[in-house]
Amino acid sequence: MTAQESPVTEQAQAPVDTHATSGTGRHVRFRVSRFKQGDQRPHLQDYDVEIAPATTVLDALTAIRRDQDPTLLLRHSCFHASCGTCGMRVNDKEALACVTEVSDLDCDTVKVEPIANQRLVSDLVTDMIDFYDRFRAIGRPLLRQSEAFPDSEVAPGVEEHRRYESCIECGLCLSACPIVASDGRYLGPAALAAAQRTVAEPRGGDTFSVLRLTDDAQAAWRCHLSFECSEACPSNVDPAGAIMFIRRKLAGQRVNSIFGRRS
């Protein structure tokens, strides 16, 4: 770092780039998983990046791509935990790179790998095709009733307050799930959570057939309660809770059908 005449004055005049990736003096090593089509397997490659207090893993990776290695590939879009494209495994934990501040990781070496249990296209880019396949039978409702300000008036011309469902399709839950890891046929937490939302708030959907689809050895009953999906979810979906909700409903239906016949 070059010495400056009066660094304090310099700082006071110019606004600080809170997400800076150079000139801060705080160096962090990034070990990034690299893979190109034709390689046998991924390998880790080291890069050095300087960080500021609010610099995110995504900032660091895009800086590496811009300044050091334009062959590094990664997915990103919204920069604010809404699109779900920048899901990765950072130091062995599932995370969204855009809202993971490097300083929060509190270490000098950050390992970055793609999310697990998805096909690898290149470097940190996975093919989300299997993720979306799982939604196909269940459906993916995009909008729900807004729980915010339930007592507020609704403006004329607006039917009711709606908001997007919490799930941002990041795939972190599937990456963290030990059953998805060992069994490719498991429907998985994301689709099951989407199913639960359809049951909890039908919106004209067919809850009967959705429930029937979840009532399968490879669907709701395949979960073994590691709860890693809910821990990994950056968006408060709580897929594990959703799966248990479905199970209670299915079990209740069984019990009812037994007693129903009696009466």
Partner: protein
Amino acid sequence: MTVREDRTSPRRRGVYGWVDPRGRRLGHWAFILNRLTGLGILLYLGLHLVVLSMLATGPNAWDNFVSLALTPVFLAMDVVLIFGLLLHGLNGIRVTLVGFGLVVDRQKALFVSLMVIGAIVLVVASLHIFEVG
């Protein structure tokens, strides 16, 4: 529920995704310990049946076994067995309850409480076991 066949090399972590402890939290520990204790109990069952079959060979074999069973090493293994049974059984209660959608919100607290009960029972049991020896 069929998912598309893997067209390229699948990157499923396999059973490694079960046992890799890095980045994992309480629920996952309960999951993996349930599996390990389950395997342990299965192994014990096999050994138990083998031991019982010794009864058929007469009082000498049985007496030899009993003196082996009273050695400190063997008693210590009994404690391990009880640990496994308690963990598997008590967590099993949690899995049954939570797995049918009951007490889901407090499932972590439930696990901790059950393990505390298990720990107390284990301590009492260990004391008894070693008194016998």
